[in-house]
Symmetry: C2
Subunit: 347 residues, 2 copies
């Protein structure tokens, strides 16, 4: 099953990504000061000395979802390319700042931008990335859309990345919080991850149809897919194969991330275990031995099955919402594959 | 003379700022998570515990310039309030991130946001501030402007704050550079400070007249005023009264800021002094004794007179540009006062 879903998503990537990439390259053409070299480094186009390197463009799921939604809603996906490129830039803005916030030194197997340049230039580069995103989104006006529709698209993009920023803030503050409920967790990931994926499908459908209601319906599918995606991410953060994910085992636990496995553990641990957990989490970091014990407790509770089930429930929710969109059989099969890919991917 | 210019600017502030403030308060109404409390703290509306404090609203020069330009160009300044509020929010976004970049722990006599919350939440708060700025700017559509005009206004704001971000990046990278020419310096401050002040006057005139050419002419005046403003800032950073500026004597020198006095010194020092300077600036920071010697060298070269003269030249340039705008005598007197205030202010 996985192989089919993966193949279908790969086919979508082939369909769209070369054009998205051209659009991105165009948007990050050189500035006199060499400042944009920092952006190209982060995107994996250049090494730290500005020498072009062979590309690893990443999954680019947000552009793919945006253009697929445009396609599915009967639009001309080529016209929606600026929106797709803007989404990828917003996503990468969030990654540059995320790495600063989390003090992560590795991403996609390379040193993170701030770890090379220091905080100040990387912070500025992240800001520039998002401004360029805004410019690219605004360039939709040159694709034959009305100014009103472009304003609506840009406003909605802005709203969703404000949600995303708030989600990142909540994610970081939850690291210091004692008890984060499942409800708070779902709210947080809805903002951190759901909002931009919602926006991807919203924009695709809006640009295809010009209809707010249709766009919102597609957006709802995206939001649910985003939740499924993030919960699978949380799963991989604890039980993923480090060789695939690029993250060391237990790193999310060590840094006290309140990912779903940990939230579940805090809510379901025995009283004695909870006393121990509170002590282990009162330290600045969860130590290596304690990470082992947390993993043991998660195993005892069957947390991995629970977490995977939650991811699948949200994916099913997405498909149930999509049933109301009046899509063709072919389109429904495609969405099905995407949803399946979101919850079965191993990296 | 100063007193008159100061009084005129204070009168402008009284004319506009209560309405700007209302607009800002409205934009930063509560979010469920309490996240926006960080923004209100930075703006000086609340203390670190979220308790309201008596306001010190700051100079708010960008909103004042925007609304004054709208007035001068024959528009209804009330309609331009969202633009003015957006400018103040963009400015404060840059201050929050600036403080992180420079690791400054005090601003306006209070602990900086990041020094209280840590880097991660403050970084997110700065991002949120700018998103809210975008939203506020986009709300111009509800003030009877056409969508085309609002798109144009928002695009121009975006372009200018991309310049500002690049200027901040250059400012930080100049700290590590050996020789920064006056030309590079002027380019940098044009971006860092000139771009947003240009935008303030551009937006005011654009919203008043709907005319791109008129807006650009006003923008040119703003850009020159911005250069004058920044050079006076550099002057105060070395020779200002710490009691007025709130900055310790020599702090800009200590951290190797390539402000105009220092750029001038590097360009005009004797060969022997230059050798010494290169050594002093090879350290991570310029030490206390070396700061004294730098101040001595600046004195020997008459740098303070040079720097002040440069500020005044740009202010005169602004007024010369303004002469082409066809303003009333009254309007010209007002602009004159503003230019004078920019280069004579002591804080």
């Amino acid at each position: 099953m996985l192989a089919t879903a993966e193949r279908e998503v790969a086919a979508l990537q082939r369909r769209y990504l070369a054009d998205v990439q051209l659009h991105l390259r165009d948007a990050i053409a050189d500035s006199e000061s060499g400042f944009f070299g920092l952006l190209r480094y982060h995107l994996g186009w250049e090494d730290a000395n500005g020498k072009p390197v062979s590309e690893s463009t990443g999954k680019a799921l947000r552009p793919v979802l945006c253009l697929a939604a445009c396609d599915l809603a009967g639009g001309d996906w080529q016209k929606a390319l600026p929106a797709a490129a803007a989404l990828e830039l917003v996503h990468n803005f969030s990654l540059i700042h995320d790495d600063i916030q989390d003090q992560d030194v590795t991403r996609r197997g390379r040193p993170t931008l701030w770890s090379i340049t220091g905080v100040a230039p990387a912070l500025a580069a992240g800001n520039a990335m998002r401004v360029i995103a805004d410019q690219v989104a605004a360039s939709l006006t040159s694709r034959g859309f009305t100014a009103e529709l472009v304003v609506q698209a840009c406003n909605e993009l802005t709203l969703r990345y404000l949600e995303m920023i708030e989600g990142q803030y909540l994610d970081v503050s939850f690291e210091q919080a004692d008890d984060v409920t499942t409800e708070q967790y779902v709210d947080m990931i809805g903002r951190k991850t759901g909002a931009l994926i919602e926006n991807a499908m919203y924009l695709g459908a809006l640009l295809a149809t010009g209809e707010q209601a249709k766009a919102q319906a597609f957006g709802g599918v995206g939001r649910a897919l985003g939740l499924a995606f993030q919960i699978r991410d949380d799963y991989l953060g604890v039980w993923g194969d480090p060789g695939s994910t690029g993250k060391p085992v237990g790193s999310d636990i060590q840094r006290k991330k309140k990912s779903l496995p940990v939230v579940y553990l805090f809510e379901h641990a025995t009283q004695a275990d909870r006393v121990w957990l509170d002590k282990a989490y009162a330290e600045a970091e969860v130590s290596g031995l304690n990470v082992e014990r947390v993993l043991g407790l998660l195993g005892d509770l069957g947390a991995s099955a629970y977490v995977q089930q939650q991811a699948e429930l949200h994916a099913q929710g997405a498909l149930a919402t999509a049933a109301g969109l009046g899509l063709s059989t072919e389109a429904r099969v495609l969405l099905n594959s995407m949803a399946e890919f979101f919850v079965t991917r191993d990296k």
